[in-house]
């Protein structure tokens, strides 16, 4: 497509596009042998769909905001909206943004013809379907034929797919809602009754052989676009220059032309074209297929034909020698002086169009918080490393002076740290990058980056320093890294959501917590796992089940090696949240994993005083005490281990299994005290031999110091984060705080760890025990997916988090308006992690491509037409893969009062099991193998197994 010295063999590539399509049609294409349609681009459509005979359809589009939709993504407002949507990349690179602001964003490169340019925004084919198979005059004259070949004739209703109100847009654009009826009138481009397809008769192009050739604005955009180039292309696209050709189709233009003595269609008159297009404005040797009159006054009108200077753009002097023209007032005045009685003011109008290359004005940067989440003390006890999720760094603290001495940049969202036994190397898990950074502690530099599984969290190095075990929370497995080669040698199956690991003192056993419960039969209590690995063989030897519990996070071995302690939640998700007695919704405590695999559970809650979000635990060197952080209540509990064990030993088996895990009256017997900490304490670590422990106050950018002799707070270490508290930060604090929930029992993060889900189905409403159970849903990237709640009853996040939460969760302490606003703002910024099955820009694999065809299919295997309302893509279309409407897809089950549910968004659907409104489908396959017997949730019962497998492979890429 692009010039780079490559001539395409014909000057008028769009016309060639039509010609090729016509040849293809006449060369024997027959009914039934339809090829996969591809996108051809607006310039091809314009060959026929413009001019008076066709109602100037293309010109109407060109003057609309649809044509500027891609360019609009370069605006500062777009960047703000992207941030609110959890989009971590520039909007023009995000499939989420491009899905509505461009055409064919979800298509693969081979599905776009060379004539297609994504920079043309929302083009014809966005609404009318990819045109390669119907863009033929003969076919277009037969509407039925054309529609069989992919032509769509959308209704106003379908505009909803992009134009439905979005919270992110409302927040930034301050309620500039679209009037759909008015907009529909604006974009209407009806075909006249006596329509006639004919190629426009432009004036003859007179070639100047010695001049360079026109390459077209899209070619310029290859380099002159994006934040680093001040979005030059987009700036032009949003200007009136870009509409210069299209305006010639207006009545006003005709009137001006007539007044000038120019009869007929101004679009075909040289007198008009020489100022309203680039192609007729300057001499050039020829016009490459990538250029077009339709782009109006583009770059080359002012800067000269670009085929030669574009190759030397980085060297301005060479570029000038190759035809790059300097732009000054004279260039503008050549057209604008006394043009149609419209004054041209210099410097104002000049400034309006200019786009100099200069350093971009730095937008006000958001403060970058550290957000330390986990800590590790170096083996020699001299330094403390803190994994700082917010700043993508590891902060090094000297434990002698208790001062920060270094900060090392690592990957995105660093989570945990582990040292080699000799202390020379530190490993950092980066949960957004799926990597482990290897740090040379002497030089404090990252020396290597090791790829691991999805979303790595906890890590541990074996005592020999031979292997590193990395817990991949999202892929639910454990990478075993051979440290001599720094390569992964095997992958161990974990539980669901492996989170944290601890190695026993003798080095023989590694115990791993898993934050999600196993899949359990519908309406049965949770069942989580602690995975025990024999470190000598690197194999899993035991999976201890913890009944009734989930949210297993921190873990630590007792120095004796007889047992390990781990934090846990016990969610009462099977009874309505109106039931307050016996711990209400979530109780919090500790689990004890004995060496023989037995598990005990105790609570850290006391009546009326919950211990929400227990996150990490350590055991003192003498084994007498355990310290547990409560991230949602800013406390550390000091537990007397011997008292705790005594309670267990004096109880019988029934009491240990059924009574003690639910006994709110026991904690006071072994919880000696609480130590207040700064905000949101998460990771905790002990400095061996020094009688001190350190706590990462993640939302305070500080590390709290605890004296283990007195169990008192003994100071803080500043990590150097900003002092200002932004709205987002405030919202993050509210999200992680139990201060507002009834009995201070849990925070938002309790059910949404890392902004995601804990995989449970809840009975919330007081409509009967077990009636209308609903599966928890992720908060990642949800802002524009309103309405919320499975029944779709909450139109906004502020309603979801405000009045609704007040009814069931916060009750007597609802959020203040400021807190609610901040909370909603923070939730919106929770990023949706990259899709691991299809990195941005990657092509689909063959299986994924076949699955995409299944997803978009319109016919069954035996040739029956699938009704529009029963096709996957009707309700699940890009970019959000939800139409945000309520549908009945036949998933009503006995405990449901009705079967109408909000269409869930599908991006990253692969990591949000279980599925359906009540979480009854454990895997994507089960949605259709078990729960779609009558083809109400798409037509799937005719599929072969490999077709279903392919469909699943495609869904995993969304």
């Amino acid at each position: 497509m692009f010039f780079r010295g490559r001539h395409l063999g014909t000057e008028w590539l769009p016309f060639l596009g039509l010609l090729l399509i016509g040849i293809g049609r006449s060369a024997g294409a027959f009914e039934g042998a339809l090829r996969h349609p591809v996108y051809v681009g607006v310039k091809v459509c314009a060959q026929c769909h413009d001019g008076d005979a066709m109602g100037n359809q293309c010109s109407i589009w060109a003057r609309s905001k649809h044509a500027d939709a891609y360019a609009a993504l370069s605006k500062p407002e777009a960047r703000q909206i992207a941030k609110l949507s959890g989009v971590p990349v520039p909007p023009q690179q995000s499939p989420l943004c491009l899905g509505c602001h461009a055409t064919a964003a979800e298509a693969e490169p081979w599905e776009r013809d060379p004539t297609f340019a994504i920079q043309d925004g929302v083009q014809c084919e966005h609404c009318h379907g990819p045109g390669s198979e119907y863009a033929d005059a003969a076919i277009m004259m037969n509407r039925e034929q054309a529609m069989k070949r992919g032509l769509r004739m959308p209704s106003k209703e379908e505009c909803h797919s992009c134009h439905a109100p979005k919270g992110s847009h409302d927040a930034v654009l301050k309620g500039q809602r679209l009037d759909m009826d008015a907009a529909w009138e604006q974009i209407k481009h009806p075909t006249p009754e006596n329509a006639e397809f004919r190629k426009p008769s432009f004036p003859e192009f007179v070639a100047s052989p010695k001049e360079p050739a026109f390459v077209g604005a899209a070619s310029c955009a290859e380099c002159h676009e994006g934040p680093d180039q001040q979005d030059h292309f987009s700036a032009w696209k949003r200007s009136r220059h870009a509409d210069a050709f299209a305006v010639l189709a207006t009545a006003e233009a005709r009137a001006i032309a007539a007044a000038m003595g120019v009869a007929g269609d101004p679009r075909t008159k040289l007198e008009c074209l020489k100022c309203h297009t680039s192609v007729y404005h300057r001499p050039a040797s020829h016009v490459l297929g990538t250029a077009s009159v339709y782009e109006g006054v583009s770059c080359e009108a002012c800067h000269g034909p670009g085929s030669q200077h574009a190759q030397t753009y980085s060297r301005p002097q060479a570029a000038e020698k190759n035809g790059l023209l300097k732009v000054n007032a004279a260039v503008c005045l050549s057209c604008h002086e006394n043009a149609h009685g419209k004054p041209f003011q210099i410097p104002d109008n000049l400034a309006e169009a200019s786009h100099p290359i200069r350093a971009r004005e730095r937008e006000e940067e958001e403060p970058q918080y550290k957000t330390p989440v986990n800590l590790a003390v170096s083996p020699d006890g001299k330094e403390l490393y803190a994994a700082c999720e917010g700043s993508k760094s590891v902060v090094v603290v000297d434990l002698g002076s208790l001062r920060k001495v270094a900060e090392i940049s690592v990957g995105a969202q660093p989570h945990d740290i582990a040292f080699s036994p000799d202390g020379k190397t530190a490993f950092v898990s980066n949960r957004l990058d799926d990597t482990v950074s290897v740090i040379n502690t002497g030089s404090r530099r990252v020396t290597a980056t090791i790829p691991v599984g999805d979303e790595p969290h906890g890590m541990v190095v074996d005592r020999r320093g031979a292997f590193l075990y990395v817990l991949n929370t999202l892929s639910e497995d454990i990478s075993v890294i051979d440290l001599s080669t720094q390569t992964e040698v095997k992958r161990l199956a974990a539980g669901r959501g492996p989170w944290s690991a601890a190695i026993s003192a003798d080095g023989n056993w590694i115990a791993c917590t898993n934050v999600l419960s196993h899949f359990v039969p519908f309406r049965t209590p949770s069942r989580s796992e602690v995975t025990l690995i024999d470190a000598r063989e690197g194999k899993v030897t035991l999976r201890a089940m913890v009944p009734g519990a989930n949210g297993l996070r921190g873990i630590a071995w007792h120095p004796s090696g007889d047992f390990a302690l781990f934090t846990l939640n016990r969610h009462k998700n099977l009874v309505p949240m109106t039931r307050v007695v016996q711990g209400w919704t979530i109780t919090n405590g500790l689990g004890i994993l004995w060496r023989d695999g037995r598990v005990d559970q105790v609570l850290l809650d006391e009546p009326g005083i919950a211990f929400p979000d227990p996150t990490d635990v350590i055991v003192t060197e003498d084994g007498k005490h355990a310290l547990v952080t409560s991230a949602a209540s800013n406390r550390v509990a000091v537990v007397a281990v011997d008292r705790l064990l005594k309670i267990l030993e004096s109880a019988d088996e029934t009491e240990r299994a059924q009574v003690i895990p639910n006994h709110l009256g026991k904690a006071s017997e072994y919880v000696l005290k609480w130590i207040e900490t700064p905000i949101c304490p998460r990771g905790i670590a002990i400095q061996p031999g020094a009688g001190r422990a350190f706590v990462a106050a993640s939302l305070d950018d500080r590390i709290a110091v605890i004296d283990l002799n007195t169990f008192e707070a003994a100071g803080v270490v500043q990590l150097g984060g900003p002092q200002v508290i932004t709205k987002e930060r405030l919202g993050e604090r509210v999200f992680h705080s139990a201060a507002n929930t009834f009995q201070r029992q849990f925070a938002c993060s309790s059910c949404h760890p890392d902004g995601h889900v804990e995989g449970l189905t809840y009975d919330i409403e007081p409509d009967g025990i077990g009636v209308n159970p609903v599966d928890n849903r992720t908060l990642r990237g949800i802002l524009d997916t309103a309405p919320f709640k499975w029944e779709g009853l909450n139109p906004s996040l502020s309603r979801q988090c405000g009045p609704r939460l007040a009814v069931f969760f916060t009750r007597i302490h609802p959020f203040t308006p400021e807190e609610l606003s901040a909370l909603d703002y923070y939730i919106c910024t929770i990023p949706s992690p990259p899709n691991r099955h299809r990195p941005v820009g990657a092509e689909l694999t063959p299986a994924q491509r076949r699955g995409k065809e299944v997803f978009y299919r319109t016919m069954t295997n035996d040739g029956r037409l699938i009704p529009m309302e029963n096709r996957c893509s009707t309700c699940h279309y890009p970019p959000l893969y939800t139409d945000r409407r309520i549908h009945d897809v036949g998933t009503k089950m006995p405990l449901d009062e009705h079967g109408l549910f909000d269409t869930p968004q599908l991006f990253n659907v692969y990591n949000s099991a279980p599925y359906l409104h009540n979480g009854i489908a454990e895997t994507l396959e089960e949605i259709w193998t078990r729960f779609n017997p009558y083809d109400q949730h798409g037509v799937t019962n005719d599929m072969t197994k490999d077709q279903l497998n392919d469909l699943i492979e495609y869904l995993r890429t969304l």
């Binding site: 063989e537 030897t541 299986a847 089960e926 197994k945 490999d946």
Partner: protein
């Protein structure tokens, strides 16, 4: 008069009709080409000395010059059998897999693990979490220690750290729940099912299905799958489709079919795989061994060799399963006894039988169909219907229709032995001939 050539039993729906005239013509051709020879009866028939058969000049390996009747293979004489009485969940043993510390046993109703150190047997039935009662095949991932179970009608299960994970055609990409065989290949788990082969990537979670659409399977009823790490290939035994070879690095398929395309007779000896209705394949030391319901065969990359019971001394041609110990030795699980191609180089075979009414039995040593020795066994294998076998160092474990048998291989040696030096010389000679241009 003995049959002049080997008729293959008519196979099910793939049976081809052959005209009477064609049969006559073929018979005549066979007589002219192949001559005639005598066959050896199955266990229980007369063991009187048979006349020396006039064997045809067959492919490499058939020359037995310099080998006397005193050159004999190792015979397992120490057998111990396990049944329900010993703690197994069921006597119908479908599969056995020996690892360093234990033996995993798959039965018609449950899974068992025999701890080699303590001798203790631990069982799991459906009530204990086993997803499906019938365990047809077992493989163990050498890296992780996870045990993978093929469940007949129940899909696939992973048993790890005491937890069963169940994969079936409704909750995963497994093509069918009737799984005959399972094999671990690097980070993949292969399943031989009745509706094709499935491959599961344990790292990415991706499922692949192989059927006639994307593999050279004329039929898709996969009976067995095995992985050969030495050549990084996976072999499928497919009912009606011979043996398929999958090259792991290139993901290319190769198929071994019977070139003469005759299912009723072996028209041309050793022209290819012995029959397309294969039941298992096993690769060792450069040789591919394939079992069928109508004989067995071996391929060294250039030459095929078929094995029929009547000309070898093996118990039967109906082979349920086969496992190769080396390029020279393979064990055959037949319906009438346990057969061993004990020494390919000298055409030496051992057949183990159990008496009908007592635990004893006999091991018959033959060379090219001629009985050399009968070794009485005080305790023999548990039953004559053999379903599976596995090697455990020098020991062997045998899955039978009525119990698990453990053969202690004390003093085991490969090949035949009378004079060790002579044996080495013979082996060297054979190898030299094999590699000669």
């Amino acid at each position: 008069m003995y049959s002049r050539y080997q008729y293959k039993a008519i196979g099910g729906p793939v049976m081809r009709s052959v005209s009477r005239m064609r049969r006559l013509l073929l018979r005549s051709a066979a007589v002219l080409l192949l001559g005639s020879w005598a066959g050896v009866g199955s266990a229980g028939e007369s063991t009187e000395a048979q006349p020396e058969p006039a064997l045809p000049a067959l492919a490499f390996g058939q020359s037995v010059e310099g080998v006397s009747d005193e050159d004999l293979p190792y015979v397992y004489t120490q057998w111990k059998n396990y049944t329900v009485a010993d703690g197994l969940p069921n006597d119908h043993i479908f599969s056995v897999k020996a690892v360093a510390e234990a033996v995993w046993i798959g039965t018609e109703d449950g899974l068992a693990r025999l701890d080699k150190k303590t001798g203790r047997i631990q069982c799991w039935k459906e009530a204990d979490g086993l997803p499906w009662r019938a365990v047809t095949s077992i493989d163990v991932d050498p890296k992780t220690g996870d045990v993978w179970l093929a469940l007949f009608g129940g899909g696939l299960a992973r048993f790890s750290g005491g937890r069963f994970d169940h994969f079936h055609q409704l909750n995963s990409g497994l093509v069918n729940d009737v799984v005959y065989g399972v094999a671990v290949e690097n980070n993949h788990i292969w399943c031989a099912t009745t509706a094709g082969a499935s491959r599961y990537d344990i790292v990415t979670g991706k499922w692949d299905v192989f059927t006639e659409k994307n593999a050279p399977m004329e039929e898709i009823w996969n009976y067995n799958v095995t992985y050969a790490p030495s050549v990084n290939k996976v072999f499928l035994a497919v009912w009606g489709s011979g043996c398929l070879e999958f090259d792991v690095p290139t993901e290319k398929w190769k198929v071994y079919l019977d070139p003469d395309k005759e299912m009723e007779i072996d028209l041309y000896r050793d022209d290819g795989i012995i029959h397309v209705i294969t039941t298992s394949a096993s690769f060792a030391d450069g040789a591919l061994w394939v079992s069928a319901y109508f004989g067995n065969c071996r391929y060294d990359g250039r030459h095929w060799r078929g094995f029929y019971a009547h000309e070898t001394g093996l118990p039967s041609d109906f082979t349920n399963f086969l496992k190769a110990r080396s390029a020279n030795e393979a064990w055959l699980c037949t319906d009438k006894g346990l057969g061993v191609i004990a020494d390919y180089a000298t055409d030496t075979y051992v057949a183990y039988y159990r008496n009908a009414d007592n635990p004893g039995g006999v091991a018959k040593v033959s060379r090219r169909g001629r009985l050399l020795r009968e070794v009485p066994l005080e305790v023999s294998i548990a039953h004559n219907f053999i379903i599976g076998v596995d090697f455990d160092g020098d020991d062997v474990w045998v899955a039978t229709a009525h119990g698990l048998s453990h053969g202690t291989g004390k003093g085991y040696y490969s090949g035949v032995k009378k004079d060790a030096d002579r044996q080495k010389s013979l082996a060297a000679t054979i190898q030299e001939k094999a590699t000669a241009p």
